[in-house]
Symmetry: C2
Subunit: 583 residues, 2 copies
């Protein structure tokens, strides 16, 4: 046995016990006749003491050679400390060491193994195994495990069955780009790695499994935007014999359970908001509702005056920033510069201070009088002391810009609190969205999403107006889960593929197995998938998913620690019947 | 709500309740004025009754149109049955139907959806979603979920943390063939899918995670022997600051827990057997010890007589088959034919009947007298009534043949009982094994396995004799798990790679990150991995892992349901900078 206790276990009540500990040297303090060592493992830190008067000279000399991150085993006696440290669980005791074994030495680590490290992102990724020793990363991994375990326990208790679906499947041109895997045994053919187990979970419903879930890796070969990973983890769920309401109830229950068990927070029943309402009110289909600043549309009250910019705009829309009437000219100019950055792309911003005395002062006073501006205040629900910010232009683009601005001022005002949780459902998504590049409609969710029966008649005449039985769970401005009621009959599925521009042959080649399955007694079904990486990072009150992944890849899809991907040898290529075709 | 109850829920105490059920039509019996329908879902079967006197004509007529596997929703009243069925949990009641909705029709299924189906393997694979509706398959999937959940709960309760390791890693030439994934963003380079998370779990130990586990898919591109899958699932585990004994204790504990919770069986402490002993006594490193028939070596008592075959053999070895002295000539000839089949490859078999009266009668009586044969009986621990079977030839080959024969006669005698569980540990595996083809030593376990310190001195002089700190858990003749104490210092790891024929450059290119990691304070560590597919099938008392996998592949690595792998389009190939190179 390498140890009798771990480094987080011992208390004053253990005094006089003979113990064996093992771990890493966090730091040493050598005072000549006394040497203290902080010994660290996953569970905590215990102070060791080597005392020239009480420790054998041999052990004392050896202790002098210890460096940071050496791996050691010690035997000794638990004693109460003279000066206790109330900030450490083991702060009442120390170990008077009688035996010291160096299990492994260590080179000086390339960055400090402390909560606040001096290591930059790149070096920490390269030496990820050292970064994991740091509490912030280690605790994130333990936290992730706890969340996953709670998810499994909750769903299992509700009769969900975790079923493993295959990783070596078939490539489909719809959706994001697949990672593919050449098959050696089937020359010239390829498997694809799943972007999600979508069709398999639907087949499990056809197979009568009724309630399925799986915590599962999924893969997308996309150019990596910030905080996206080529491999990511989903909590994938599906239920049979359900309507949308059953699914929302079930997974709202799961999320409430997690918030309660993991964060100790009780939340009310989730608000439900239509996609249209979310877009109009927040300019965004994943609104952060921890704070207000709902959009006020100003067309009626700001157009038909002399201000040509507004008159020419499809939409004039504003928000009232609480308590920001006191912003200086410089602060406001800074916001104007912010919205004009290429990433946001607004051509300008109008503002109006609603002073505490009730007077209104705008950047366009030339065109609007107090009554006009009072109407702006009314439309944006502004109170005295607020600052009204107004953007104008094409409707969708302007909403998106104002949404970004709303989030930015909320961040500046400290309204996006990481310990506050405001979940909601966004429902009634459009079934299809127009893609300019390919000049055709794409499935907004995926091709298996069921149209709302009452909108089916629009499919031929006005496809963009057809709403889907699709829903997203949104938490603090992030989509943490999304799903839909699925199509479960062959004819509707065929119709759907037609509208997505598939020929019957293509549809059959790609998804024939699913349409065939629908002919053998498919039940009504639906489900959703949560992004576990994102969910965990939000619950953990942090921004980046990378911090919750043990071995993440960088923005070029590389694992810089193991240096992958890498060249493979010619024998492998030959066996796979492929060759390189470099540009 | 599609249903108020599932099809396994209702009892006599629910009589007179108005209920809504949904499910599949298992079968209908139309007696003219009465129609009975068995309605099935995941949870059970409930009998529906349509009665011309009590059911509305419209509903009654609709009931007549129901076919097998139609998906229906019914409303009705729970009534007690006149003739109860004590074999069904819901056998006391039936539903007098008042409303019938056909949710989906069904073509006639290509095989019967019953416990005993008329469908062959191929058709059931193609329509796997229908096969899953059958109780035997469905129950296997539910069973697998239960096992996985118990594993997670047990290990989590012991402070193990489940950490997800990456799927897109780097190809390594050592070991089995990798599946590779061309990288689009890193032209000409490839990821590999993991054969196991071996190096990552070791890095987690270097990172101080201390106790890791993961239920994880692994991939091997090998020609598929019977009952192997290109993707398979491991329970992967690793611990730091442990010796072999700690690991054996921990995972023996896990297995005992599973046997108790899942099967209700308490087993004694697992026997431990060295690899050498297992090979000598059972001819096999995964002995089935549910029964005896231990090997008796007969060189001393059977050589140096007139029988040239035995005299020329490196090894003469036999087993005593209990109670088989009564075998007829035909039965014995059948066994002789069996061992001579090419798969076994014995050139012949000698036998000796130990009659109930104590006399011995062998097939080589010309060369051996009663005293000689009595020595055979003694060496094989034979009792009167047993049949001694003897093979001879090169030692290793002959042991392997006799092991196969031992298993075959045990099967014929019904000694391999699926409800009996005899686990054991096999320990002290050789570190290296000679590979004739490449004319060099290979790591028997993998290159990270630690040699026994006391055998290190043999590494240069007699490498084949070096034993490893490696162990397998064996259950009923199957290796269900295996692992080792790992090397945790750079110098030993370097030495190991040298002995495996790696140049220093190759070792560095492939595993430099691991050897680097060992320089920064690697703790002693070790672990093991269980094959979940196999473990579940043995616990389930069945032979083939395929029956416990939702969507298995066939022996050519194909998913015949979705028809994968498949060709991909040229645009995909081009983006990946590869082209086909067909033979």
């Amino acid at each position: 046995m390498y140890r009798s206790h771990n480094c987080g276990a011992l208390r004053a009540s253990d005094s006089n016990k003979e113990v064996t500990l093992a771990g890493w040297v966090q730091k040493t303090r050598d005072k000549g006749f006394m040497i203290w060592v902080d010994l660290r493992d996953r569970y905590g830190i215990t102070q060791l003491i080597f005392d020239a008067n009480r420790t054998s000279p041999k052990v004392f000399e050896k202790a002098k050679t210890l460096g940071r991150e050496f791996v050691v085993q010690v035997k000794g006696t638990v004693i109460e400390r003279e000066s206790k440290n109330p900030n450490m669980p083991t702060g009442d005791i120390e170990i008077l060491v009688t035996e010291l074994n160096v299990l492994n030495t260590a080179l000086t680590p390339p960055f400090t193994i402390e909560d606040e490290t001096d290591g930059g992102e790149d070096i920490r990724m390269k030496f990820r195994y050292l970064d994991i020793r740091r509490n912030p990363v280690k605790n994130n991994l333990l936290f992730r495990h706890k969340v996953a375990q709670e998810v499994r326990n909750y769903l299992s208790a509700q009769d969900f069955c975790e079923v493993e679906t295959p990783y070596l499947i078939k490539s489909t041109p719809e959706g994001a780009r697949d990672f593919v895997v050449p098959s050696r045994m089937n020359e010239g053919q390829f498997y694809a790695l799943p972007q999600s187990p979508q069709t398999f979970k639907q087949l499990l419903m056809v197979g009568g499994m009724d309630k399925y879930f799986q915590i599962v890796k999924c893969f997308r070969d996309e150019d990596l935007r910030a905080d996206r990973q080529p491999e990511f983890t989903q909590i994938d769920c599906e239920m049979a014999f359900v309507e949308q309401e059953d699914i929302l109830d079930t997974f709202e229950g799961l999320t409430r359970h997690l918030l309660k068990e993991i964060k100790g927070i009780e939340v009310d029943k989730f608000p439900r908001m239509t996609y249209d309402h979310a877009m109009k009110t927040y300019g965004n289909d994943k609104p952060d509702i921890r704070f207000g600043m709902e959009f006020g549309e100003l067309n009626d009250v700001a157009q038909h005056k002399e201000f040509a910019v507004f008159n020419a705009a499809e939409l004039v829309v504003g928000i009232a920033v609480p308590g920001a009437a006191s912003y200086t000219r410089k602060e406001i100019d800074n916001l104007i510069d912010w919205v004009k950055r290429p990433q946001i792309g607004a051509s300008g911003m109008v503002y109006c201070k609603y002073e505490a005395d009730g007077s209104l002062k705008s950047s366009v006073d030339k065109f609007y009088d107090q009554d006009d501006l009072a109407n702006w205040a009314k439309a944006t629900n502004a109170n005295p002391g607020d600052l009204i910010l107004v953007l104008s232009g094409p409707a969708h683009k302007t909403r998106t810009q104002l949404s970004a601005l709303r989030m930015e001022v909320a961040t500046r005002l400290g309204l996006r609190k990481s310990d506050e949780f405001a979940p909601l459902w966004v429902v009634d998504f459009p079934l299809l969205e127009w893609d300019e590049e390919s000049a055709r409609f794409h499935a907004m969710h995926h091709p298996f999403t069921s149209p709302k029966p009452e909108d089916m008649h629009l499919l031929d005449t006005d496809p963009g107006k057809v709403r889907a039985n699709a829903y997203d769970m949104v938490l603090n401005g992030n989509e943490i889960g999304g799903g839909s009621i699925r199509i479960h009959d062959k004819e509707t599925q065929k119709l759907m593929f037609q509208h997505l521009g598939f020929s019957d042959e293509e549809a059959k080649a790609q998804f024939g197995f699913l349409m065939d399955a629908f002919q053998y007694g498919a039940p009504p079904h639906g489900g959703l998938a949560f992004g576990l990486d994102r969910l965990v990072s939000i619950l953990g009150g942090q921004e980046t998913i990378r911090d919750f992944i043990a071995f993440p890849k960088n923005n070029s899809g590389r694992d810089v620690m193991i240096d992958a991907p890498a060249a493979i040898d010619n024998k492998q290529l030959e066996e796979l019947s492929i060759k390189l075709d470099l540009k």
